[in-house]
């Protein structure tokens, strides 16, 4: 394949594809990352797209991007800055130039740099003609006209021909990184199986792009990124939302229960419902409810009737589900509420990431209404934490909130596929016919009541949102009983701490600085801390997945460090929660509210500053 002049080995590379939201950049990016993963690289990806499906063409607001980071080493983030930017129009260039590394490569579709498009993008002069891009390796390709020329005899109409132009750029980038075309060719054949003309056209354009890059020698040298050393096993690429859906399904299988999902579509959580809806072959029942409230309420009804029930949403939806979540706490029914966080408040930034629902998850209900909260930290570990949320819900007879966020939900990475037998069995305390049953009688270890499922003879009983007498479960307004029941509800959640792993620290126990994070910032925090550790800096990381209750050794771990900095994509909610829990410990903060993940660069800068302070 390679007739290249010079090949440069790279440890890692970041590529950002960008164009109009109709330009097929998500698909192009996904194809490149799949090919790289199959090649054996470690990969992390992040799509960045506008909330509008087809925002005004050619405008900065309508730019859709897909960033991927692949490497020879373990990759934890989609990368801060791109080595290569593909910009299909001036708006894409305008929106993304700030994300390109100094002296990086920029591929532009020259045909799209018309006066009209330049104006729409807000350029006063053509950046391809002045010296603004002089510091970059600029590759101008007439992608539109070359695609058109290539397909003039294809028998396709103009519109269909233009749809193939993303394959041209994909072909170019494949050549630059010495990647084989066969995976994408197979993909094209499968995707357009019913339209042989379209298959031929896409394959032809892909090859044309590849050859074009070779002919013009798009780079004076080629990058090669060797496969990463990865644990043995069978791998696949997976997004956080898919992994979440699969984790819930895996839990249902290991609990031997049917899975019911009552949900309402909401960005960026919708793919979980979609993935579950596609899995009727595994008996999953999905119920697209009339609203967020009905989403959780149908799930509560299903839980009452004996299914393992879940509901999925994002911040505004969680707010709507609040009252019903309280009912699930009161009735002590198992339920998983998945909240894929996005920028808020209100409609906020639907397609952007944030961690600002933390306190809503912990506290946001009427009354004293404790509920376990856990958080996933990478796209693939959404599987594990969805499974964990389910396990806790079923074993402890309680609703559980699982927090993910738009960044890990849409991001993808290779994942070593587990076998189901590796996963623990989940045993819910289901009452059987003939059992001595009282609705609120409790087992000692977890103080959970038993689940008497309608249809079981002799266990007829009533539950509801009104306060009940401990044990017999009839309605009670007795003051002392309410105290008893409130204490039990609190204690039940505290007891979850006996059933979760302890907090582990990456790095030394006596480091000068402890970085604390939770959830989806894991990749950036890990990368920043590891890089500093390599530079022999005295810094460690404690990353939390179990939020409420906290792991039992949390006080002991935090107590070891003099300087602790809590980093989160909100205004300091976890820090506030830790302060109220550990009043003798001082917490510094690093926060960001831009709808974007941290960059490793900004984190290192902040940590260095803290390391230097006396």
């Amino acid at each position: 394949m390679s007739q290249k002049t010079k090949i440069i080995e790279r440890e890692e590379v970041v590529i950002r594809f960008s164009g109009d939201s109709g330009d097929g950049m998500q698909l192009t990016g996904t194809q490149f990352s799949d090919t790289s993963a199959l090649f054996g690289n470690d990969v992390a990806t992040f799509p960045d797209y506008p909330a509008e499906i087809r925002a005004p063409q050619g405008t900065v607001g309508g730019v859709s991007g897909f960033q991927l980071h692949f490497g020879h080493q373990e990759i934890y983030t989609p990368g801060d800055y791109a080595d290569v930017l593909v910009a299909m129009n001036p708006a894409a260039l305008k929106a993304n130039l700030k994300w390109v590394k100094a002296s990086g490569t920029i591929i532009v579709n020259e045909d799209s740099f018309t006066d009209k498009n330049l104006e729409k993008a807000g350029y006063e002069s053509d950046p391809l003609l002045d010296d603004k891009l002089a510091d970059y390796n600029l590759i101008k390709a007439k992608v539109t006209s070359l695609t058109r020329e290539c397909l003039k005899d294809s028998g396709l109409d103009q519109k269909s021909i233009l749809r193939c132009k993303n394959m041209f750029t994909l072909g170019m980038v494949y050549w630059m990184f010495d990647r084989p075309l066969d995976h994408s060719e197979d993909f094209i054949e499968k995707k357009f199986k019913k339209y042989p003309l379209v298959v031929d056209a896409n394959k032809k354009v892909l090859k044309a792009g590849y050859n074009f890059a070779k002919t013009i020698e798009a780079l004076p040298y080629n990058y090669s990124v060797a496969p990463a050393k990865i644990r043995k096993g069978t791998y696949r690429n997976i997004t956080g939302n898919k992994a979440t859906a699969w984790g819930l399904m895996a839990a249902a299988e290991r609990a031997n229960l049917e899975l019911f999902c009552g949900s309402y579509p909401i960005t960026p959580a919708t793919e979980i419902l979609q993935e579950l809806a596609a899995r009727k072959d595994l008996g999953v029942k999905t119920f697209q409810a009339e609203d967020e409230i009905a989403g959780i309420c149908t799930a509560i009804g299903a839980s009452f009737a004996g299914d393992f029930a879940v509901t999925t949403t994002s911040g505004p939806g969680l707010a709507l589900k609040t009252e019903a979540a309280g009912l699930a706490v009161m009735t002590e029914l198992p339920l998983v509420i998945v909240n894929v966080q996005r920028g808020g408040p209100s409609t906020g930034l639907p397609t952007k990431t944030e961690q600002s629902d933390l306190l809503q998850a912990i506290h946001g209900r009427s009354g004293e209404c404790p509920m376990p909260v856990i958080a996933a930290s990478t796209p693939s570990d959404c599987f594990h934490y969805a499974f964990e949320a389910s396990r806790i819900a079923l074993e402890h007879m309680t609703p559980v909130i699982l927090l993910t966020d738009g960044f890990i939900a849409n991001g993808a990475e290779p994942w070593r596929i587990p076998t189901m037998s590796e996963l623990p069995e989940i045993v819910a305390p289901i009452a059987k016919e003939g059992d001595d049953f009282l609705p609120y009688a409790r087992e000692e270890k977890r103080l959970s009541r038993r689940w008497a499922i309608p249809g079981t003879k002799g266990l007829e009983h009533r539950i509801g949102g009104l306060e009940k007498i401990d044990g017999v479960g009839t309605v009670s307004y007795v003051p002392e009983n309410h105290q008893v029941m409130s204490d039990i509800r609190k204690k039940r959640v505290e007891l979850v701490a006996d059933n979760i792993p302890e907090l582990k620290v990456k790095g030394k126990d006596d480091a000068d600085v402890l970085v604390v994070g939770w959830g989806g910032t894991y990749g950036h925090l890990t990368t920043a801390v590891r890089e500093l550790q390599k530079e022999e800096k005295s810094i460690s990381l404690a990353h939390f997945n179990y939020i409420f209750p906290l792991p039992k050794n949390t006080a002991e771990v935090l107590g070891r460090y003099k300087k602790i900095i809590v980093c989160e994509l909100n205004d300091g909610q976890f820090a506030e929660y830790l302060r109220s829990t550990f009043q003798d410990i001082k917490f510094e903060q690093h926060n960001k509210l831009m709808g974007l993940p941290f960059t490793v660069v900004e984190l290192k800068e902040r940590f260095n500053q803290l390391l230097e302070e006396k």
Binding site: F260, P418, T419, M420
Partner: protein, 346 residues
């Protein structure tokens, strides 16, 4: 399901008493809810379901205390959400006989969205809608079925809102079963509850109910001995719609598409001229007209007004899962985890 109580020689037939829970009833003396509770318990005893297969699910309000007084599986949920919670319960276990109890505020105000969507989906359950045209538990505010101009605590100068007619809302949402009864008519309510339960799909049973404290006499024209026979027509499928003290009044279709009350024996009208009720016709037009009749211009129609054959959501859900299971190569989570693009790292 019919294999159960009646056909099993060793099991004694259940009585209404078997459905009474031991909890103290907290409805006001004279409340219409007592009569409805009796009717439902009688109907349950008459039906073929096992006791453990009943799930009675309610929202919030006086009527929603209902599950506590039933010795069945019961769930007293939150305001307005009973239809959604009942929908989930039925989908989780389609073998359950789900009865959802709501008042006019619970079902049509705070829960209006869930009500219409439950009907639209046609989930196989019975919704008992106790309509007393007032908020009782919060002590006397107007409801979405209160008459225009009604003076209540939140409308001291009379309401300026038009009321819903529950039947119209149900039919607008595509209801396949709608019936109406009166709290005081135990026999009729019992029969209607059984018919509603027999129907596959969402059955709406509106029970006109009297709140003795905050809206006493709301339905008096159709409950008072002196007037009730002239102002109600109890309709039955296949029978002419005749009513009145003298059993000499009937309904015919007028030239302008409106129903007309006639007297048999006057102006040459005979019994043959009176409309015969067809509850099973798909076309909701006549059902709409019948259920919209109001006294004193018309008699209020009671009985099963609409009962059209249909396939329920839960039946279709189960069927779809079976169909897809039969053709999919993915039979377990392990299959799914290893499906699509995977690669091996040695």
């Amino acid at each position: 399901m019919a294999d159960t109580v009646l056909n099993s020689p060793n099991i004694k037939k259940l009585s209404a008493k078997d459905f009474r829970s031991d909890q103290e009833n907290r409805w006001c003396p004279g409340c219409g809810d007592h009569g409805i509770l009796n009717s439902v318990q009688k109907a349950m005893a008459d039906m073929d379901f096992k006791k453990e297969d009943y799930a009675v699910i309610s929202g919030i309000g006086c009527s929603s205390r209902f599950p506590y007084y039933m010795d069945t599986y019961g769930f007293h949920t939150i305001h307005g959400r009973a239809a959604a919670i009942a929908s989930g319960a039925k989908c989780a276990n389609p073998d359950l006989e789900v009865i959802q109890v709501s008042g006019d505020g619970d079902a049509l105000a705070i829960g209006g969205n869930h009500f219409i969507h439950a009907v639209r989906r046609n989930i196989d359950m019975t919704i008992l809608l106790f309509n007393n045209e007032i908020y009782g538990l919060t002590k006397g505010q107007y409801s979405p079925t209160s008459n225009h101009g009604m003076v209540t605590k939140t409308s001291p100068f009379g309401t300026i809102e038009e009321p819903f007619k529950p039947s119209q809302l149900a039919m607008g949402a595509g209801s396949k079963f709608y019936a109406r009864s009166l709290d005081t008519n135990i026999k009729l309510t019992t029969e209607i509850v059984k018919a509603a339960s027999d129907h596959k799909g969402t059955s709406i049973v509106e029970v006109l109910q009297n709140c003795v404290i905050y809206n006493d006499g709301a339905h008096s024209i159709i409950t008072d001995k002196a007037t009730k026979e002239d102002y109600t027509v109890i309709i039955e499928h296949g029978k002419p719609m005749i009513f009145g003290k003298e059993k000499n009044k009937g309904l015919i279709m007028g030239g302008n598409g409106k129903l007309v009350v006639v007297t048999i024996g006057e102006h040459g009208i005979t019994e043959e001229d009176v409309l015969v009720h067809d509850a099973h016709t798909e076309d909701p037009h006549m059902h709409w007209l019948l259920s919209s009749m109001m006294a004193p211009e018309y008699p209020v129609a009671l009985g099963v007004i609409r009962d059209v054959d249909s396939t329920s959501y839960d039946e279709k859900m189960v069927q779809q899962i079976e169909d897809i299971k039969a053709i999919s190569s993915i039979k377990s989570m392990d299959d799914l985890l290893n499906s699509g693009d995977t690669w091996v790292v040695d």
